[in-house]
């Protein structure tokens, strides 16, 4: 074994690495001692009984030892061979590809449902368009919305899901309670009527919640927004008359094709366009709706960055004191970022309610906020393309983990891969942060150029000082 590892130029510190691996193994064993080595299970009398699993502890410790050894081998190899290679080749490649990929990406995204339909047929493609296409696009839109708050204005918001909830409940309540009572003839149009209302309501809530707390800085703001997110969720759970509590709201009207419903009736979409009825049309339509909404978010972001308000956001992110001394009203500037970000969250919430047809407070837990924030940070804070890459990686990754049923054949029927989904998600989040602390696309184009264009390296970007 040792002959493979010792290269002529430098010897691999075998003894040291082995010692370290032994230490890691011991630490792992210590971590596992009660918590992996025993499992407490309830028996028939509702009493806990211990089952010992020492073999699992041993497996974990040996794995940790091997992992540690391989890691030191890898770092050794890297430090002796790859001096010349760029430290962030992936980042550079992605950044360089971004402008060229844009038209190609558009083409792919627009053609995606049709390609899936052609490959899998109307029955098999629903899963691919809905679980992957629509799901990822919702997170792209939420990521772009939160990007205005976190990436551009540098305000750390851990309660973004609250505005998503406001949008979703606004649509659900107006469409199931208000419209049938007042203008029942508008029923098929309810999604299109409620979409702007949901966005405006969410923006209004952004202003109401933002106004008292935006004087706070950095981490304090993060915690207060987290508290607001939790308060809104707890109110939705407990105020049963208003929101139906844990049970949630169901039979929310689905969106129509601009007034033509997607059903099997005479006036339905299929009948009007002389097609055979299939639920796939609605899925494809929903896909294009969320695509349009996301593109609207991106377009607004790009345009706003060129307006005085957008420049003020970025200036605020870089240096709040300098901003104030230049006469920028920081409260108004922060509030607009908060409200606009919240508004897009509201649009996404409205779409979410319309797509699911059922919402409950369970969909708006803190984990969602964390996931959206992770997408923004992993994407590189402020980079629109980065958010797309991060959404595909995180959301698409989670969805793919649902498809691991084949592992049952390897590990037996009792093995349930879906319970490892969030475990792997958390693990991936930590690993990605360790690997790329500044996100996948950590460079950005300056908004204003003096004489010549210089790109700003990641070490110069000082985002998130709130």
């Amino acid at each position: 074994m040792s002959t493979d590892m010792s290269s002529p130029s430098s010897t691999f510190p075998m003894v040291k690495s082995l010692k370290q691996a032994g230490f890691v193994g011991m630490v792992m064993f210590g971590l596992c001692v009660p918590i992996v080595a025993f499992r407490a299970e309830q028996n028939m009398n509702n009493e806990l009984v211990l089952q010992s699993r020492w073999w699992l502890t041993l497996v974990f410790s040996v794995l940790a030892m091997i992992g540690s050894f391989l890691l030191s081998l890898y770092t050794h190899q890297k430090s002796h061979t790859a001096h010349s290679s760029a430290p962030s080749s992936v980042t550079k490649a992605l950044s360089a590809l971004a402008p060229r990929l844009t038209p190609l990406g558009f083409a792919c995204v627009i053609a995606y449902p049709m390609v899936m339909l052609a490959i899998n047929g109307p029955g098999g493609s629903i899963k691919w368009i809905d679980n992957f296409g629509i799901q990822i696009l919702i997170y792209v839109m939420l990521g772009w919305g939160l990007n205005i708050v976190v990436g551009l204005a540098g305000l750390l918001d851990l309660g973004y899901v609250a505005f998503y909830a406001v949008g979703a409940y606004a649509y659900a309540l107006i469409a199931t309670k208000v419209i049938p009572d007042t203008f029942p003839e508008l029923g098929f149009w309810s999604f299109w009527i409620c979409l702007p209302i949901s966005g405006l309501l969410a923006a209004l809530w952004g202003i109401i919640l933002g106004f008292p707390v935006l004087r706070l800085r950095g981490d304090y703001l993060a915690i207060v927004t987290l508290a607001f997110g939790e308060i809104i969720r707890l109110v939705l759970i407990n105020w049963v008359d208003f929101s139906n509590g844990y049970a949630g709201l169901s039979s929310i009207p689905r969106p129509s094709f601009f007034g033509i419903p997607f059903n099997a009736s005479e006036e339905g979409f299929a009948a009007v366009f002389d097609l055979e009825f299939s639920p796939i049309y609605r899925t494809i339509f929903l896909y294009y709706v969320i695509l349009a909404l996301s593109l609207l978010t991106a377009f607004v972001t790009i345009r706003l960055r060129r307006l005085p308000i957008g420049r003020a956001w970025e200036a605020l992110r870089e240096d709040e004191i300098a901003c104030r001394s230049l006469g920028i009203n920081t409260t108004i500037t922060k509030l607009t970022a908060f409200a606009i970000g919240a508004g897009f969250g509201g649009f996404a919430g409205c779409f979410f309610a319309a797509r699911q047809g059922f919402i409950s407070p369970e969909s708006f837990v803190f984990l969602e906020s964390a996931q959206i924030l992770a997408i923004v940070v992993l994407g590189g804070m402020g980079s629109l393309f980065g958010v797309v890459v991060a959404s595909i990686a995180l959301v698409g990754g989670i969805e793919i983990l649902r498809e691991l049923d084949f592992l049952k054949q390897v590990f037996g029927e009792a093995f349930d891969p879906s319970q490892y989904r969030m475990l792997i998600f958390g693990f991936a989040m930590v690993l990605m942060m360790l690997w790329k602390p500044r996100g996948l696309i950590a460079h950005r184009e300056p908004s204003i150029v003096y004489k010549e264009k210089k790109s700003i390296g990641s070490d110069m970007v000082q985002e998130g000082h709130g």
Partner: protein, 304 residues
Amino acid sequence: MAIFIQQLINGLTLGSIYGLIAIGYTMVFGIIGMVNFAHGDVFMVSAFVALLLFMIFTTLLHWALVPALLVVLVLAMAITGLWNWTIERTAYRPLRGSFRLAPLISAIGMSILLSNLIQVIQGPRNKPVPPMFTQVIPIYEENGYVAGIGYKQIVIMVVTAVLLALFWYLVQKTPLGRAQRACEQDQKMAALLGIDVDRTISLTFVMGAALAAVAGVMYIMYYGVVNFADGFVPGVKAFTAAVLGGIGSLPGAVIGGLLIGLIETMWSAYFSIDYKDVAAFSLLAITLVFLPTGLLGRPEVEKV
């Protein structure tokens, strides 16, 4: 009045648990300026460690209750310290000096990882232990309602007070505590004076985890049940307590914890039990808006 006294006792018990967790937040924030989001889940892990150790000592080795609990307390503190040491070493230390959001995201990931790890290896169901110390000493009677203090409440308050005193001594009087306070004030200067900053930060995490483990043992003893998802809400409330007391201040964390515990139980008793968490979170927002540095915090100096 009897109800009030009863709620006061319950509130102080709950507040002791929050205070113990809050110290872990406040110390870590004080020394590296980071919100250790995974701390609530470290507390949950410690409760599981305590539960399993308790089962091992009472059902497998047939120890008596009191010695078993004492050994469980010490072992749980050590094992949870090892957990937090490993977490700091693998997930936070490589990100030190990187930009500010990176450790926060890493901590959120670690929080998700810990709770799901426990769910996978211990199962998703509630884990109940047989009730212990069930006797109650009556202290006040009014119109047939007896307010009493339970043995386990006395145990919780006494153990918390003793450990806080020990901990205060550790931070104020020992070289380790001095190094820790020095790093809090100025890491570069502390390093120049020969303090191993990395080691001090690691030990801060270990101390925070050890106190969280005490809270975990008390939690198991008081509620008699634990679940893999039990880390988040106590974690956020303990953080609220740390902020309320003034983040970075150790007595502040304890006072904040006691206040949050009292407000929560009083609110449940006199207003509505459904909205007790809303009350705690609203208090956090109100404190930060009107008293941004908390009760005992130092005012933040803004430098240009």
